[in-house]
Symmetry: C2
Subunit: 707 residues, 2 copies
């Protein structure tokens, strides 16, 4: 350990900064095999994107192979890599490749012969496609793929693949557990932190092509001239990497910074103000992406303040953006303080009637589930219910409800579960993925958003394993039907090591990790039982707070006799928002998947589960299993640690210990609370909670990050 | 630039993280010369401090020389380095060195002969002295000193050399411009970020031996059991490096977390609560340093809330700490919202009558000047005025009033100016340094505090040059009579390069940098003209705010006829708080140093300066000169950039451009404002402000960091 620090003082600490783009030297034999395919690099540098593509290949291959390939203007030796477009490269044009189906962002990677020499071509219609292809080629090298018979064709299934930063202008990040916002607004536009470029590189490596810089709980100041100059500077960093910047805007900005008396979307002055503001933005940033809006949601202003509906609001902004090709992303995450109806139903009730009422440059951004980024939710019933409106997925990459920075929870499986859910809206196979990629209802404008988990922490995401969630989001944004397991395997190989003795158990550990969180926090369809406001730790007893639907008791409805939220036809009837076959299935506890049981049903503690156990016993079993799984994760990690660097091993090791402690806290507090209601004994052999309920209730956490 | 990134992917980006402990390879000839004196390393590893000393020498010499010396148990070859104490090393004991005057922390470094071999001995009475000596030896190597005839004797002049972190438990740092607090409370006590160790190393390299972890605007929660466990974990990291942890405590903690109805220091229950709390702290952390208190100051609770005085409050806490050897640091930074008297006079008025009333383990912590960390202030009149009380200096390292992160302002000169100021309290030569080091009044308990500029930014301090202020504070805390210039030269050599063509102009630039800030912000004794609350940028026009003495107009008192704060015997008579010869000097504008002119005097714009110019013309000249100096700094930096890495060159270059822009803003806004009052023309040839006054007044900065 100590000796590793000595010597030529060149050993970099493995601090996670390099993400999955580490480019550390390959083992000798592997490097030799790759070198035969990387003797020359033939690539233009005429555009900024071509330039960064070349830099990345030199950096990546240079690192992986211990030396970069020779840059040549034409292929003159065996083993060239030729990168570009028919327009940028005569040799690529001469190959007459069929690039028609690849679109703007797609690429192919093929083993070919150029000027009599075996070569690898990375070809695209556009510079950015070639950049994506270059990253793909690097990934093949990083993950030890053979390069002799390549025939890869890739294109993204979704048009907009964006991160949402819930970053405030004071650098606080709402629900951020990785330090501050990486945007150093105070020093912008002058100082461009090199980290911005590394951020762009990481995103481009996944095909992410947009970033919303600021919090959806927006501050109008972002649209003032000084901040737009700062945004312009960031856009300049992102541009070569094919990433457009977007802004969250506050609906009341015309009042707050425009000096108007109203923000009524039907008011001509308001419309004029937004048109002028859009003109101002595009004059500075011609490829600006557009706006994201949270309106009439959790206290944010919106069109309903003026008796207008969400379409009125969205369309007014869309009209301002339309002349510039901008997109308006309108969030469907709404629920009202006045509306006493089941919160899970409200977004659907609000938006479904507006289907077909939105401008063509509007995307409705819908959270994966009907509540709020819980460890598990059924898919949001809006998916499939608004065929005339392009719906954009909103996933949360940051782990607001899944243990913050320290819990190991690979979200690839969660994203996959939602994307592969069948809405049945046009019969079997109408998956959420097909809704958002446009094929089900014939939309061209498509998109997906991930609420970023990125901050100033050296490892970007608060832990090394959290990087996998950024990575998985990006890969699924490119292709929503990819497998979470294969994505995890790629990530592990690129981030840690290619050794199978490490990869296999660690991928297995990741694949089970999110289910462990569900088990120890909110099993069997329970949801939103976290501490009020900050969402740290269990608080199922909490019945206080400014509104009922922010309290755990609203969601679990447990008492002496039973537990669960009745969303059947005899309850809130939320089931009716799903397609009829699903509605029928969810309406009956016997046919409801048990993972959603208490989401849809209020049942007696004695309810008999498929296992034959009572609901109470099964619930306790799940809590216990969650804790046990974390213990197994620690064991796994302990066994494989010798394959990787001490720094990252030690950190993940400590974090797993924290996770185990907090998993037990979740289990024990939850069991103690529910047992205080039902008075039932624990199943035989099950450990009782370590402390009395009063202990768990007494804990308070005044300085939780991200809140 | 690009090629530097390639190759064996071992080149670390120069991101500033390594501070002055970079240990990059010396030039070949220099390394060869050092190797002759570093053939062996003879050092024990029996204690944690010995262990970290050995690690540091191996790391440092390994890096500087391209390979670490051989570790040996006894000297067996020429060129050994022998490190330790007579107790830890028989060979050191055998040298019979005179270590008596070195105390606990001192050391000597001497060229000696051991077992017939030329050797370098680093000897001390205590392990921590040997650690300090090891850092000194490394510094000699880093700065290119000859090692053949060493005879260094060093010991600290002050006993407590501490940093004050104004860090909140939510990781916000008050007046911090370098990201978040480095203390990741959420993950403590489990996760010990390796950065904590690097923090300890950096401080130990300067002899800093204490750190107050939390903001003087304290939250009582720091004294609750969960937080004390976290503090204990940090203390464990600091301990081997000779650094004790201290806490800022809130005077009302007995009410807030103790359940008492009062915090009256004369109440037996309150006394008992604090004694029990101190016992609890020391049971966890036996070498805990003590408490720091901000009481009855800017809204903080204190003994005056109960009709008691500051000595009552301090002594009650001191009594609780006394059985454990703890120290109570009580801040003298008080001024009252009710008291209409000159704010500059209030601390003196409050504390001078209490001289002799404090317990022996109380230190009174006094800011360098009577107002608040301005770019320039006369020394605080409390220095020299309380001979029976040990006064501890409080400097501000973070640049709250000196341009935040981006302005290059080397504060070594400012610290030096205060320390070398003559209080005349016991006749000529009664410098502030002699007050705080105890020699003037015979105190054993002595100390100095610096409000840290450290945060999570990769470069720790928000800029590479800000690191010099941490460094200079530490060196002056060890020896308050060291020269700011020689400290700067050491820092430049260790941080950038030893090349004279770089060192000389950069040290010159640093030495003039703080005067430039004084010139473009608040020349000739002006003070506190910064934007309200956040202190970013000029706002001399500001007359709003919750209290008069937080507004610029309170301090400059400018009108059509003149400018300045009359603190003479016909004004507030603040001059009378200084020793009689100084009081007389400051009472007369003709004998007042012009740098303090408007601090002590209200004068007509036509007042004739020593230069023969009118006050108005001279004021304009200073503002202009400040801007010009920054331009010259940019020129200097541009000329020497080729000597260092592109990363740090580019960053400082951008920051200097920001500084120049903001210096011009300060100049122009100030001139525009004062001209709006006096209606006087600018001197011939002087550029008018770029914008009208209304423009400067219209600027607002809602998201300034650190506020």
């Amino acid at each position: 350990m100590l000796l590793a620090l000595l010597g030529a003082n060149v050993a970099r600490a493995e601090d996670g900064y390099d993400l999955w783009l580490r480019y550390r030297p390959l083992p000798q034999a592997e490097a030799a095999a790759v070198r035969a395919h990387a003797a020359q690099l033939v690539i233009g540098g005429a555009s900024p994107t071509q330039e960064v593509t070349r830099q990345e290949l030199l950096r990546g291959l240079g690192g992986l192979l211990g030396g970069a390939p020779v840059v040549a203007s034409t292929v003159s030796a065996d083993g060239a890599i030729v990168v570009g477009t028919p327009a940028s490269s005569a040799q690529i044009a001469g190959l007459h490749l069929d690039l028609r189906a690849l679109g703007h962002d797609g690429y192919l990677i093929r083993s070919v012969v150029v000027a009599g020499h075996p070569a690898t071509v990375v070809a695209a219609n556009d510079d950015v496609g070639a950049l994506y292809g270059a990253f793909h080629l690097l990934r093949l090298v990083q993950t030890g793929q053979a390069l002799d018979k390549l025939d890869v064709r890739e294109w993204p299934r979704l048009k907009l693949r964006v991160l949402n930063h819930w970053d405030d202008l004071n650098r606080h990040t709402e629900r951020g557990y990785a330090g501050q916002s990486i945007w150093d607004w105070q020093k912008l536009p002058d100082w461009l932190d090199p980290r911005y470029t590394d951020y762009a590189r990481a995103n481009a490596s996944l095909g992410i092509n947009g970033t919303v810089l600021n919090n959806v709980n927006a501050n109008a100041a972002i649209l003032t001239a000084p901040y737009l100059e700062k945004v312009k500077a960031l856009a300049g960093v992102m541009r070569p990497y094919g990433i457009r910047v977007y802004l969250s805007v506050k609906f009341s900005a015309p009042i707050e910074i425009g000096g108007l008396k109203t923000a009524d979307p039907l008011d001509p002055q308001v419309q004029k103000w937004w048109r002028a503001k859009a003109d101002e933005v595009y004059a500075l940033i011609p490829d600006f992406g557009g706006f994201l809006v949270k309106a009439n949601s959790e206290g944010q202003p919106g069109p309903q303040d003026y008796g207008r509906n969400h379409a009125d609001g969205a369309n007014m902004l869309a009209d301002a953006l339309q002349p510039h090709g901008g997109v308006l992303m309108w969030r469907a995450f709404v629920y009202s303080q006045e509306n006493r109806d089941d919160r899970a139903k409200q977004a659907y009730a609000e938006f479904k009637p507006l289907d077909g009422k939105f401008r063509s440059n509007v995307l409705l951004q819908v959270k994966n589930g009907p509540i709020d980024f819980q460890p598990r939710e059924p898919f949001n019933p809006l998916f499939g219910a608004m065929p005339k409106t392009p719906l954009m997925m909103e996933f949360q990459i940051t782990k607001e409800y899944l243990g913050f920075a320290t819990h190991l929870a690979y979200l690839g499986t969660m994203f996959e579960e939602t994307l592969s859910s069948d809405t049945m809206s046009r019969g079997k196979g109408s998956t959420v993925a097909k809704v958002i990629d446009g094929q089900l209802d014939g939309h061209q404008l498509t998109g997906i958003a991930g609420v970023a988990n990125i901050g100033t922490d050296r490892d970007w995401c608060g832990s090394d394993f959290n990087q996998a969630n950024w990575y998985a989001f990006g890969r699924l944004a490119w292709n929503p039907t990819e497998s979470a397991r294969s994505i995890a395997a790629d990530w592990v190989r690129m981030t840690f090591t290619d050794e199978a003795a490490f990869v296999t158990p660690v991928v297995d550990m990741m694949m089970g990790s999110r289910e462990a969180v569900v088990d120890y926090m909110t099993p069997l369809g329970l949801h939103h039982l976290m501490g009020h406001g900050h969402h740290y730790g269990p608080a199922p007893w909490d019945a206080t707070g400014p509104r009922a639907d922010w309290t755990p008791v609203y969601y679990h409805r447990a008492d002496h006799d039973g537990i669960g939220f009745d969303r059947t036809s005899t309850g809130s009837n939320a089931v009716a928002q799903y397609a009829p076959p699903l509605a029928a299935k969810f309406n009956d506890p016997a046919t409801t998947p048990e993972v959603f049981l208490l989401w849809f049903h209020h049942l007696p503690w004695s309810y008999r589960m498929q296992s034959g156990q009572t609901l109470w016993n099964e619930l306790v079993m799940h809590y216990t299993r969650g804790v046990d799984t974390v213990g197994q994760m620690r064991d796994t990690w302990g066994r494989v640690g010798s394959h990787i660097d001490a720094e990252r091993y030690q950190k993940a090791s400590t974090f797993l210990a924290i996770q185990q402690k907090e998993a037990l806290w979740w289990r024990d507090a939850s069991i103690a609370y529910f047992q205080s209601l039902n008075g039932l004994p624990l199943p035989a052999g099950v450990a009782p909670p370590q402390h009395p309920l009063s202990y768990y209730e007494s804990l308070s956490f005044p300085f939780v990050p991200g809140y």
